[in-house]
């Protein structure tokens, strides 16, 4: 568990990184589709705060926050967005394919729902190897429309696997609202509960609440109690992909966006800590400045790193084999 100040710190980092990406994106140097998580930082930070370093995380197209919250290397992530050879995926993946094995961030890919069974598989691997580890997967509200999600949850239940399913419900899939995609009169959590999985619905913009719920789920999983499904209510401030606001597209109202901005997860955590007196305004300013400096420094390192070169045909295949009778040789 992280202390509340650490949670705020992590929130500020993710927010700052995303804002800096948004600011620089129009320079057209980060030349890949980029899904920012501004407005949704608390889900990433709250859940990852409940994890141990050896626990693993998978994610989807909107993964910057998850990667950073799990401890992923910032410069390597930004270098990946810049298409650099030093990117976390050597420039092969771009924003939609982040990985940092050293901190258990096992991978993010932009096929909706696709990492959900992988997270379950990692949990199966832990069970088979008798390792007390937990696997977590982040996905959006659209992912529950994919059948593979329910296949995965059912299998996790069947085998009582140590996995936590984290649904970030931000009400939209690209420009399409939930009401055009999912039946009325039920919540996502209710469907999950119908499958028999332990389920909790949480305010996804309250990082403290998220951490509490995640902690309970992770503890249960580690203790052999099986999977948990968390539905976290949250909201994306910017457009689906790219650095801009998008009220002009007309699929959601300015009022709605405003109402959710008023529930900003970073401001919420800041307010709580200020009110509690665990932080004062000048400390906060200083924190923000330091973070911004670090982020900008990382951005410059990433931007100035050499382009990925000469590796087009490398790593299609691993060149290694693992002889089954290896120890006998």
């Amino acid at each position: 568990m992280k202390r509340d100040r650490e949670l705020l710190y992590d929130l500020l980092v993710v927010r700052s990184v995303e804002q800096e990406i948004a600011r620089r994106y129009s320079e057209q140097q980060m030349r890949c589709p980029t899904h920012l998580c501004i407005g949704q930082e608390a889900t990433a930070v709250g859940v990852c705060a409940a994890l141990r370093p050896e626990d693993v995380v998978f994610s989807g197209h909107r993964s910057h926050g998850h990667y950073l919250a799990k401890g992923g290397d910032l410069t390597a992530m930004l270098a990946e967005l810049y298409g650099r050879g030093s990117g976390c995926s050597a420039g092969k993946g771009g924003s939609m394919h982040l990985v940092d094995l050293s901190v258990g961030f096992l991978g993010a890919v932009p096929i909706v729902g696709s990492t959900i069974p992988m997270a379950v598989g990692a949990a199966l691997g832990f069970l088979l190897q008798k390792l007390p580890r937990v696997s977590v997967v982040f996905f959006g509200d659209a992912a529950v429309e994919e059948g593979v999600t329910w296949e995965s949850i059912d299998f996790a239940l069947l085998e009582r696997l140590p996995v936590v399913f984290v649904c970030e419900n931000n009400l939209y899939s690209v420009q399409t609202p939930l009401s055009a995609r999912q039946p009325a009169g039920r919540t996502i959590a209710q469907v999950a509960a119908g499958h028999g999985v332990e389920t909790e619905s949480v305010d996804g913009n309250d990082v403290f609440a998220v951490q509490r719920a995640a902690r309970a789920a992770v503890d249960r999983a580690r203790a052999g109690g099986g999977p948990t499904f968390l539905e976290l209510a949250t909201y994306r401030h910017l457009e689906h992909v790219g650095p801009n606001e998008d009220v002009s597209l007309g699929y959601r109202s300015a009022e709605e966006v405003e109402a959710w901005r008023a529930r900003c997860p970073v401001e919420h955590a800041t307010r709580v800590l200020l009110e509690r007196g665990e932080l004062d305004a000048s400390e906060l300013d200083e924190l923000r400045r330091r973070i911004l400096r670090d982020v900008r420094h990382a951005l410059e390192l990433a931007r100035d790193a050499p382009e990925a070169q000469g590796s087009l045909l490398s790593d299609v295949f691993a060149s290694t084999v693992s002889p089954i009778d290896g120890d006998q040789r």
């Binding site: 030349r31 420039g91 993946g93 771009g94 994919e146 059948g147 399409t176 990925a308 087009l312």
Partner: protein, 350 residues
């Protein structure tokens, strides 16, 4: 002068006409009615025809393909769209086991008038899972027709022909073509399925190209013309069933064959075209054919790597030189525009 439209607008007009004229037609896909309208190709159609006939759908590609099929079995004529062929891989069971085989396996009683539009292509760091080009897969499945319009004219003409066809048609649209413009007649017309187009006639070498590679092939032909080489460029238009006649006639005439395809070279469309030509007109071929396509690796995201990954006109020029026994051409001049966005010179009108 004939009216000029973009490829996206031509598609949109084709859909509009189909919706207008045939009440059994409906259009369905992720984001179809939204403000971006599938690269502009479905813009505003929901307002015009209503959101029952121009529909969004849940992110459930597999079921929605079955839904489209089921509706076709009771008399509808769905046009299903996927923003990337990569996403449609979730629906392969439906497309390959069911859609492709339904007419045959039930003894020819039930036609399946279903068009599945899928976006292929490249650019702006699309990377490994947003840029596949799997026409060879669909073409390998008996029962599917596979079209790849390269021009606005054919985008509309093949779309209407596909909607009218009583068989499943897979249409693969390259994202770099949506902005390309060219002449598009008003009203209803068709581009016949299984009919390739001689995009440029020539005598020295045949270049068979698919989709976006037709543009690269035409540019290559321009360049080769400067050196006195006369290139015949065939815009394949339909990948399956193949228009063998047009292909073989050209090979017989030129005796030299280059294939330029948007997909992976190995086990790709080029393999079939080379094999078919070799089998059928071996004695007419005067040199080993050559293929231009993607190397054996996934699509990388970094622009620097993608620039190496995607062959451009120069690769076609090189292949033609090889096939013609000419010395290798001078290396490509450094490009003046970024290679991960469509070349503005390529947007037409042509």
């Amino acid at each position: 002068m004939t009216r000029q439209l973009t490829y996206a607008a031509a598609l949109r007009e084709g859909l509009d006409l189909c919706l207008q004229h045939d009440s059994r037609v409906y259009v369905m896909g992720l984001g179809v009615p939204d403000a971006k309208g599938l690269f502009g190709s479905t813009l505003d159609l929901a307002r015009v025809h209503g959101s029952t006939r121009v529909r969004d759908m849940p992110t459930a590609e597999n079921a929605m393909t079955g839904v489209a099929l089921g509706s076709a079995l009771v008399g509808m004529r769905p046009v299903l769209t996927h923003q990337r062929v990569d996403f449609a891989l979730l629906a392969v069971e439906q497309m390959v086991n069911q859609v492709a085989k339904w007419h045959y396996m039930f003894g020819g009683q039930q036609p399946v008038p279903l068009v599945i539009r899928m976006v292929i292509g490249r650019g702006w760091g699309q990377g490994p899972q947003h840029a596949q080009s799997l026409q060879a897969w669909f073409a390998h499945v008996p029962g599917l027709k596979v079209v790849m319009p390269a021009t606005p004219y054919d985008a509309k003409g093949l779309l209407i022909a596909s909607v009218e066809d009583d068989n499943p048609v897979i249409s693969l649209e390259h994202r770099w073509l949506y902005g390309v413009s060219g002449p598009v007649p008003e009203g209803v017309y068709r581009t016949p399925i299984q009919q390739a187009r001689i995009a440029r006639s020539g005598n020295d070498v045949t270049v068979v190209a698919t989709s976006y590679m037709v543009l690269e092939a035409l540019r290559a032909a321009d360049e080769l013309a400067l050196r006195g080489v006369s290139c015949e460029v065939i815009d394949l238009r339909t990948v399956a069933p193949l228009d063998e006649a047009t292909l073989l006639e050209s090979c017989r005439k030129t005796g030299r064959l280059v294939v330029a395809d948007t997909g992976a070279t190995s086990f790709g469309v080029g393999a079939e075209i080379v094999a078919r030509s070799t089998e059928r007109c071996f004695s007419d071929l005067r040199a080993a054919p050559a293929r231009v396509g993607l190397p054996d690796c996934p699509a990388p995201s970094a622009p620097s790597l993608a620039a190496e990954y995607y062959p451009r006109s120069h690769a076609i020029v090189q292949a033609c030189h090889r096939v013609l026994g000419l010395p290798a051409p001078a290396p490509e001049a450094a490009s003046s525009h970024p290679l991960d966005v469509p070349d503005p010179d390529f947007t037409g009108p042509f």
